[in-house]
Amino acid sequence: MESLQPISGIWAIVAGAVKVTGIFTVLMLTIAYTTLAERKISAWIQDRHGPNRAGPLGLLQPIADGIKNFLKEETLPATAARFFFVLAPMMVLFPSLVTFAVIPIAAPLPTPVGVVDMIIADVPIGILYVMAFSSLAVYGVVLGGWASNNKYAFLGGLRASAQMVSYEVALGLSLITVLMLAGNVTLPEIIWQQQQLGMWFAFPLSLGFLLFVISAFAETNRLPFDMPEAESELVTGYHTEYSAMKFSAYMIGEFGHMVTASALMATLFLGGWDLPGTWDNAFWYQGQLISGFAADGSVIMANPAVWKTLATLAGFVAKTSFFLVLYIWIRWTLPRFRYDQVMALGWKVMLPTSLAYLMLIALTILVLDEVGVAWGFGYGLALTAVSTVCTIAFVFFVDRGRTITGAAAQRAQRVEIKTIPQPAPAGD
């Protein structure tokens, strides 16, 4: 089986170029059609039709939007800081596109010249690269708000920085539980460990999954966390002064973050391209593509096939689409939180919960390893039991007026008018 070698030489460069071009194109198309999906789904939820004029069923609407944004007037406020004003949209757009490079999209593809990994760059730092670049996006938002020299844009930028910094903590802490369980930071290995565990990390780390989803919503500035652009309070927040392609760059950046965050959630918690069963397992282990270990510790060679790659790609697309639809669905269901509610949820709930959960998971993993439970389905079930208890406790703690309530029900925060004791009238 000499063909089961990783692709190398000139063919690796060719494969890399094809992958970069293909994934970039598909990513941009996905972003474009996510905007259409958002408008269509919002329309259906509100019993409307949505865009249906450009092309059949409105399918050419994103192209029409793109042309419109190219042809619109580029405004530049007279008092704006010109250099940073132009730089800021690029700083949002760029990180949202490059983070996709480390996300594996399908099982390795066998070709006559070697096996191609369906990932642009399998860098050893993996998820840390994603975290580093997705954090950079906040600079674009803050810089855009500041450079506009507009008080609403500036307030939006300030809120964006406060919110994204707050929720990044919870995001990172809930991510650490995944890294502890997988034992590595590269995304292919995280998928491999989910295949070995026999269940996706959404079950043994259910509370981590919940915290990660909530934080990811806040990180991407989507409702109910769209404080930075709260249009009823701040016009449209940090991109108030932007028009045409610069505004479009912000939008592409936002939707790009959505797509990347969806793909990331699918990879970390729903097994990435993994489909149920062991037939599609594949991982580079000491230079060999293996599908698992036999009982005596020897490796079982993987048997990659084109149809397996296509099937796993379809699985990955389905999981990512699920999160994208979830994003849109929640956006058109829930009203926006108040700013202090967002901050309270971030610092008083998400941070302590994720810290405590991290400690508990670390303890559970330590106990399971010390007891000698083998890495496999039983290990996963034990963690699932612990996490389910945590999730129920968390939901109980958060709900019913304890942390999140409607605005009318916040008794604890209401200022009571106290009666001032009057001195007894003199002369009685």
């Binding site: 939820i45 829930l334 916040q410």
Partner: protein, 166 residues
């Protein structure tokens, strides 16, 4: 009658669940998402049913030989409450009066239909028509030729078989 105040029932915070409310909201939006009962009318494809009393864009009736039926009597500019009809009458060799200039400013017109009611020869009519968008404002002053070219039906308020409502 005494003024009554409706006291809204606000559930206590300890008994209301944000998450359950959010989930039931998501269930509701999901129902609409998969089965939208869209009530929007797809306008250019689906036309609105106009009321039988609809009075829209004017049209001028013509004789079989192509002359306008108008005899330039001057009743319609006189009765017009919006003063939107400009009429200059003339007389030909046989002594027949005819309009030299007949203009209706469709922007000023209030579509009351009194020009149609007052016309002694059933020449000017309001029509069952409303799609008269133009690119410039001056295109909304309809001259005689334009009024004669209009081919939309006349309003249902006027019955051609009983033109004088007798």
């Amino acid at each position: 009658m005494a003024i009554s105040v409706k006291v809204m029932h606000r559930p206590e915070p300890e008994t209301t669940s944000y998450l359950r409310a959010a989930l039931s909201g998501m269930a509701l939006t999901f129902k609409h998402m998969v089965n939208p009962t869209a009530v929007t009318q797809q306008y250019p494809e689906e036309q609105t049913d106009l009321s039988p009393r609809w009075r829209g864009t004017h049209r001028m009736e013509v004789h079989a030989d192509g002359r306008p039926k108008c005899v330039a009597c001057g009743l319609c500019p006189t009765v017009c409450p919006a003063n939107c009809i400009r009429l200059v009458g003339g007389e030909d060799d046989q002594g027949n009066r005819y309009p030299i200039v007949y203009e209706i400013d469709e922007f000023r017109c209030i579509f009351c239909g009194m020009c149609q009611e007052v016309c002694p020869v059933e020449a000017i009519h309001v029509g069952r028509h409303f799609e008269n968008a133009e690119y410039t404002r001056d295109r909304f002053v309809y001259d005689l030729d334009r009024l004669m070219e209009q081919d939309h039906p006349t309003t249902l308020l006027w019955d051609p078989s009983d033109p004088r409502s007798e």
